[in-house]
């Protein structure tokens, strides 16, 4: 896993040392973090929204569209995060990830299956070494309201069950009250508990109120060693909007310029149509660059998006509009 990510920070001391170096301080305090994060340039809200809207108007056709659909499918973290999840449903989802479209075996597989920690084993049983990863949400997802010991145990449990990736939530309460050091320490601790698993840091942008906060949370997450920054849990509205993702993409681009290290981006929640997905891909290309157009660096957290992409893919390959009878029915069974 993540051999080419070259994340230098694996232990808490490493992370703190690197943070001190980047901040240019001798001791990592909340005051130092605050002055660094608040020293970031402010986000031009109107400009960001206008830029996102203009990128959303690009028309992607024919072969480019076919490529975009396949790329988007390969970037999906096929997600089920319901209280009513059963082992059978998780197995069903994992089986779908292995063969997304039984009528066309050339369809690429999604990047990962994203489930709750206790379902990791069931997903792993089906996926094995197929290359489709298992991602688990941890740290008292979705609210993040639990003690640190519980969050770490949650993480360690998912990792020991075989999760390849961990999706953690930050403590938004601490972040919004300005206690950046706590958020930093928690991310560092969870990253340490992840071992070899890649860490996605969910910032829950819908609760961060301003774009400036999104930018600060992105930098804080990257500073603490997150391998991915992720918009949302999918449980809060608004979730992954295009302007928010644009700001995060700017952050990872600038982070690479600053440190030489690449960090992934994962918008999650509310992306349902192929058209939406293609807008995101255009934004990735135009803002972060081509290097991020790969499922190692960009993911979609989605459940119903796959079906719409498959419908579009069938339309492209057969020339006729397809329908719900030709894709799998995801709705939970009553039996």
């Amino acid at each position: 896993m993540s051999t080419d990510t070259a994340v230098p920070a694996t232990t808490a001391t490493d992370a703190a040392e690197r943070a001190r170096e980047i901040l240019g301080v001798s001791r990592l305090t909340n005051r130092a973090l605050t002055s660094w994060l608040h020293g970031l340039p402010g986000v031009d809200q109107v400009g960001a929204e206008a830029r996102a809207a203009s990128l959303g108007t690009r028309s992607i056709k024919t072969t480019s569209k076919a490529w975009a659909i396949d790329t988007a499918i390969s970037m999906i973290d096929l997600t089920t995060l319901e209280g009513a999840d059963t082992p059978g449903r998780v197995r069903g989802l994992a089986t779908r990830a292995l063969t997304p479209d039984p009528s066309d075996l050339s369809t690429p597989r999604p990047a990962a299956v994203c489930v709750y920690g206790d379902m990791v084993g069931h997903a792993k049983d089906v996926l094995g070494d197929s290359g489709v990863k298992v991602a688990a949400v941890a740290t008292a997802f979705p609210s993040g309201r639990a003690s640190m010991a519980v969050k770490l145990a949650d993480t360690a449990d998912a990792v020991s069950a075989g999760a390849d990736e961990i999706d953690m939530v930050i403590d938004r309460g601490a972040f919004l009250s300005g206690d950046y050091l706590t958020v930093f320490d928690q991310i560092v601790a969870v990253k340490e508990a992840c071992g070899g698993a890649r860490l996605k840091v969910i910032m829950e942008t819908g609760e961060l109120v301003t774009y400036d906060n999104v930018r600060r949370a992105s930098y804080l997450s990257m500073l603490a060693g997150g391998d991915f920054i992720k918009t949302s849990t999918g449980k809060v509205q608004p979730a992954a909007t295009l302007p928010v993702t644009l700001i995060m993409l700017q952050a990872v681009r600038d982070w690479r310029a600053l440190t030489g290290q690449m960090v992934g981006v994962k918008p999650a929640g509310g992306i349902r149509t192929s058209k939406d997905a293609i807008k995101f891909l255009v934004t990735v290309h135009e803002v972060a660059g081509e290097d991020w157009l790969d499922n190692h660096w960009f993911r979609f957290g989605a459940s119903s998006l796959l079906n719409d992409l498959l419908l579009q893919r069938q339309k492209v390959s057969t020339g006729a509009y397809s329908g719900a009878d030709y894709i799998a029915d995801d709705s939970p069974s009553l039996y």
């Binding site: 069938q314 020339g319 006729a320 509009y321 397809s322 329908g323 719900a324 009878d325 030709y326």
Partner: protein, 310 residues
């Protein structure tokens, strides 16, 4: 400019500028513009064709959206009681009745009829709604029923709606023909995507306005105006359309109905062929008593075996 020039009265009343209409489509209970942004001019039929209105020129993507809307509405509409569907259809006839003078004027202009013929035509169209509305809770008894079987079973056949039906409305009979095509589709619980007459879409758009202001749920009838040969193939090949009514393929410019039937075969759609034999399709006489053929064409038969005591 003004087509209806009034003689100036003594006081020289200011002449009024015509309000020229640009119509839109009817999809999912809303009136959107065509995704393509196009429209086309519609003229009256007769010796000196007059400009009537601009109609939206629907595209394949509008047809796609209409099918999505029809699919979404289908289960709810089929799930309504037959009695309720009959009431809803009857209400459409009521709304049409209150718009009678508008329909008469539009049918007259579209088809080049005399006022009396147009009046009779609209009356027949309204009566046709009422006629089909009455069938809503009766056709199941006529087309289904108990089957005698050699065994200790009750064997019952009951007709069920086919699903989403695409319909090419007749090119000539702009209102009576349209009603005669749409009513039998929806009365049994199907939802319809209707491609209006290419040259005579105005009465169809007014019917859509009548539907929107009656009790018909959004998406049960979706109306697209435009070029038949452009949109029809997409409906014929659409995998999420369960049946297609090719009545309007007769006399539609550049449309070969056999090609549409072939495209429809891809997902085993039910096809109602246009009247006439072979390639020479004709428009049927819609003034005749319709019978149940059109209703029956868009039904599936469910048969249930139930054991009974020996």
């Amino acid at each position: 400019m003004s087509t209806t020039t009034r003689k100036p009265a003594k006081s020289a009343a200011p002449s009024r500028v015509d309000v020229r209409k640009t119509y839109k489509l009817y999809i999912g209970g809303k009136f959107p513009r065509s995704e393509s942004g196009r429209s086309y001019e519609v003229f009256s039929t007769g010796r000196s064709p007059k400009f009537l209105a601009n109609a939206a020129q629907g595209s394949r993507k509008d047809a796609r959206d209409a099918v999505v809307a029809a699919r979404k509405a289908q289960s709810g509409w089929a799930g309504a009681t037959a009695y309720n569907r009959g009431q809803v259809l009857y209400r459409v006839a009521e709304v049409m009745e209150s718009r009678r003078s508008q329909f008469v004027a539009e049918v007259q202009a579209a088809e080049g009829l005399t006022a009396a013929r147009a009046e009779a035509n609209v009356s027949a169209a309204i009566d046709r709604w009422v006629w089909y509305a009455g069938w809503s809770d009766k056709f199941a008894q006529v087309l289904g029923g108990a089957n005698p079987v050699a065994g200790p079973f009750f064997n019952l056949s009951s007709p069920e709606p086919t699903g989403v039906v695409a319909a090419l409305a007749p090119q000539g009979s702009s209102l009576l023909g349209l009603v005669s095509v749409v009513a039998p589709i929806i009365v049994s619980g199907n939802t319809a995507v209707v491609l209006a007459s290419q040259e005579r879409p105005v009465p169809a758009i007014t019917l859509a306005e009548a539907l929107a202001t009656s009790d018909v749920p959004g998406g049960v009838v979706n109306l697209i105006t435009g070029v038949t040969s452009e949109v029809a193939p997409w409906l014929a090949s659409h995998r999420d359309v369960n049946a297609i009514d090719l009545t309007g393929a007769a006399d539609a410019p550049d449309v070969v109905w056999g090609d549409l039937e072939r495209a429809a075969a891809d997902n085993l759609k039910r096809v109602l062929r246009p009247a006439g034999s072979g390639v020479t399709a004709v428009e049927p006489d819609f003034t005749a008593e319709p019978g149940l053929e059109r209703l029956e064409a868009f039904l599936e038969t469910k048969t249930v075996w139930h054991p009974k005591g020996i």
